[in-house]
């Protein structure tokens, strides 16, 4: 593809590189773009990336591994789109994703991304673990296979395979059982939701995954879906309708909010802790859900919610988006955004970081260890905090 065929050829040069995209809402820190925070070279800022993409499509620079690294180091956290003052801001992430797509089509992508996508093509998960192991986490729980219950509990790849996130998936299931929610899971029948595949620019693979999933959901008569991961939530809510798959989809924190309001989820067990909450990009900036998780936490007696300097629209991404929880282009340094975030969380004096996303969970867990703070700062998924408040202290 040449520039003339590029979907955003008429706007990509309109980036002035004024740099607003690097900042949080209040400009307190130039580091709110995860890739720029990590590398601190203009090439890794959103504006730099756009200029490089244009130069590449325009034949001014050649494709290199390094260029691919720069393009794929965008973790689609959407901070740029949020902060850009110009009127094409909504398209910024799309402009970068379109460039990823072009590299995907040419087949020249970083090997980590190649492995990620091939693993999904083969095994339906980025890790390349066997499909038939997807449902293993269910073992030993009372969680049932989906067969027409009210909700389909869609777990996603990270919750199904990552050792730590599997515990979260379990706990969430147990809380839902405890609350008497009628739900089931797909187990080995579940397939990748494709959110990351989409953000990595592998459009046709995403379409295939979406269409297969939609068909499966329809065949099983699924109407309502509750997801563990905001990434799944985003794909099913915002992208599946394009493939004629409209379902009533909730992130579990939204469901919790209703259950607590409706008195079906009793968190009066309480829990004494000062907790800070890390907004996941695919719940916050992508879907504007900032309140449900906070309301759930505030509903638990004894929990004191301490906000980090950068929160809500201004949140610093953990770096786990756009497949980077696997490809990890931002790792290997103390400027790894996840580690910056942990230091910010620690500064609030909280004893735990509440997360609402398995990707954030794994990224921040690694970061808290890298910072040597695992004794002082726990990474807890909201489902686990709620679980402790309602499961542990049984009547």
């Amino acid at each position: 593809m040449v520039l003339a065929d590029y979907k955003y050829k008429d706007i990509i040069h309109r980036c002035f590189r004024c740099g607003y995209c690097k900042f949080p809402t209040d400009w307190m820190d130039v580091n709110n773009c995860p890739a720029y925070a990590r590398f601190r070279m203009e090439s890794y800022s959103c504006g730099g990336r756009l200029w490089l993409i244009r130069a590449w499509l325009d034949g001014k620079i050649d494709w290199t591994d390094h260029l691919a690294q720069i393009v794929f180091s965008c973790v689609a956290c959407k901070n740029c789109a949020e902060k850009c003052p110009l009127n094409f801001s909504d398209n910024i992430v799309d402009m970068i994703t379109a460039a990823k797509s072009e590299m995907v089509e040419r087949g020249s992508i970083p090997s980590a991304v190649k492995n990620f996508l091939e693993n999904i093509q083969r095994q339906g998960n980025p890790y390349g673990d066997a499909r038939i192991k997807r449902g293993e986490w269910v073992e030993g729980t009372g969680i049932k296979q989906y067969e027409g219950q009210e909700f389909l509990y869609y777990v996603g790849c990270v919750g199904s395979y990552d050792t730590r996130a599997k515990e979260t998936a379990k706990t969430l299931g147990e809380v839902l059982l405890k609350a008497g929610v009628s739900f089931g899971v797909l187990g080995n029948e579940e397939n990748c939701d494709g959110n990351e595949v989409n953000k990595l620019g592998e459009e046709s693979l995403f379409q295939m995954l979406a269409e297969e999933n939609i068909q499966k959901f329809k065949d099983l008569g699924v109407r309502k879906i509750v997801t563990l991961s905001p990434h799944s939530y985003n794909a099913i809510k915002n992208d599946y309708p394009k493939f004629d798959g409209s379902f009533e989809v909730f992130h579990y924190t939204q469901l919790f909010q209703d259950l607590i309001k409706g008195g079906r989820l009793n968190v009066s067990g309480g829990l004494n802790a000062r907790v800070t909450y890390h907004d996941p990009c695919f719940l916050g900036r992508w879907n504007k859900e900032y309140d449900a998780p906070r309301e759930v936490l505030n509903a638990i007696p004894g929990i004191e919610l301490a906000e980090m300097e950068r929160n809500r629209e201004a949140t610093l991404c953990c770096g786990g988006g756009g497949g980077n929880f696997y490809t990890d282009f931002l790792g290997g340094s103390e400027t790894n955004p996840a580690r910056i975030r942990i230091r910010e969380a620690y500064a609030t004096g909280a004893s735990a970081v509440a997360v609402a996303c398995p990707n954030c969970m794994t990224m921040l867990e690694d970061a808290v260890k890298a910072e040597g703070l695992e004794e002082k700062l726990k990474i807890r998924d909201i489902s686990e905090i709620v679980g402790e408040a309602c499961l542990v202290k049984r009547d």
Binding site: D65, P110, S111, A112, N115, D162, T163, R164, Y326, T327, D328, F329, G331, G332, S333, E365, D366, K369, A370, G372
Partner: protein
């Protein structure tokens, strides 16, 4: 009476270990079948090696060819096929080396002989040769039988047949290279020795070695940190070099370097045999890999079955704590 022919292979630095391994195995088979063991060697001043071969072989056939600095497939094939056709050995043993891989299949076709390659075990019962091969990434052993015929050819996997000193005092017959015509369709242009990397992994006492499981160049950092904590250096298995994550100088294994450190810590290495061959000399081997069935655990002294990205950073930190 059964004759076993071992094709000896020599490199600049001398006889290839694999040839001694094949001779050892050949000797055992010959004794059991009360047969004769013949070793064939072709090249420049081969007489130099003949006595060594004669420790195992009943007879050494040393074919002198001054053009041949070290073993090459074509001249060997041209020399061997008439010899084999004439002597009809029951079994021809060749090492499954870069040389053997080039030679054996073509030779087998020329002779119309059954061929089994890369064998981890070889047996000969009343004239029938059966072999064991390790397949499906080392997860399965397969036993094959070779159809009875004048001659069968088997290549053996390096490192599977431990060398035992030979007690033989075989005779040596030197002959001149029979064919003089140039092989014009395939010219040898020379050799390139491996690039010397900044760190010499063969000299390191502690090696932290990464494999495919490290997933990306950027992640090698965690291994470097661990290596630093242990006062060692980083090494790697083949895929890491294939992906361009580390220069080839860091590669351990058959096509890389053979290492003998005090501690070999394998991170995300499944343990293909090509790799394992290179680490046998290690005093202690520790493997961290999420696949409990990874072959690396069959050579490791200790193992952790878990996600390397979880374990390694903690391990580094614990070690630094212990160092105080």
């Amino acid at each position: 009476m059964a004759e076993i022919l071992v094709v000896a292979e020599h490199r600049k630095q001398g006889l290839a270990d694999i040839s001694l391994e094949m001779l050892t195995k050949g000797r055992q088979l010959a004794d059991r079948a009360s047969g004769e063991l013949l070793a064939v060697l072709i090249g420049k001043d081969v007489s130099r090696y003949a006595p060594q071969l004669a420790q195992w072989a009943d007879k050494v056939l040393a074919v002198k060819n001054d053009k041949l600095e070290q073993s090459l497939a074509e001249p060997y094939q041209k020399t061997l096929s008439p010899i084999i056709k004439e002597r009809k050995p029951k079994l021809v043993l060749i090492g499954h080396s870069s040389f053997g891989m080039d030679l054996a299949p073509a030779l087998a076709v020329e002779l119309g002989a059954p061929l089994a390659t890369d064998c981890t075990n070889i047996a000969m019962k009343n004239g029938v040769v059966t072999v064991t091969r390790s397949i499906y990434n080392g997860k399965v052993n397969a036993v094959y039988s070779l159809a009875p015929s004048e001659t069968v050819i088997v290549t053996g996997r390096p490192g599977e047949f431990p060398v035992e000193e030979g007690q033989q005092r075989g005779s040596v017959e030197e002959i001149d290279y029979p064919l003089e015509e140039e092989i014009d369709y395939k010219r040898l242009e020379g050799y390139i020795e491996p690039e010397v990397s900044e760190v010499d992994i063969t000299q390191a006492e502690v090696l932290v070695s990464v494999g495919r499981g490290i997933k990306d160049k950027g992640n090698i950092e965690i291994a470097e940190e661990l290596a630093r904590a242990l006062g060692g250096v980083v090494a790697c298995s083949r895929p890491v070099v294939d992906y361009g994550w580390l220069p080839s100088g860091y590669q351990v294994g058959l096509s890389g370097k053979t290492v003998k450190p005090k501690l070999y810590l394998a991170i995300g290495i499944s343990g293909a045999f090509q790799h394992m061959v290179g680490i046998r000399g290690s005093k202690m081997i520790i493997a961290i890999n999420k696949d409990v069935k990874a072959p690396i655990f069959t050579v490791a002294d200790y193992g952790i079955v878990d996600d390397i990205f979880k374990v390694v950073p903690i391990l580094t930190q614990k070690i630094n704590e212990l160092k105080g």
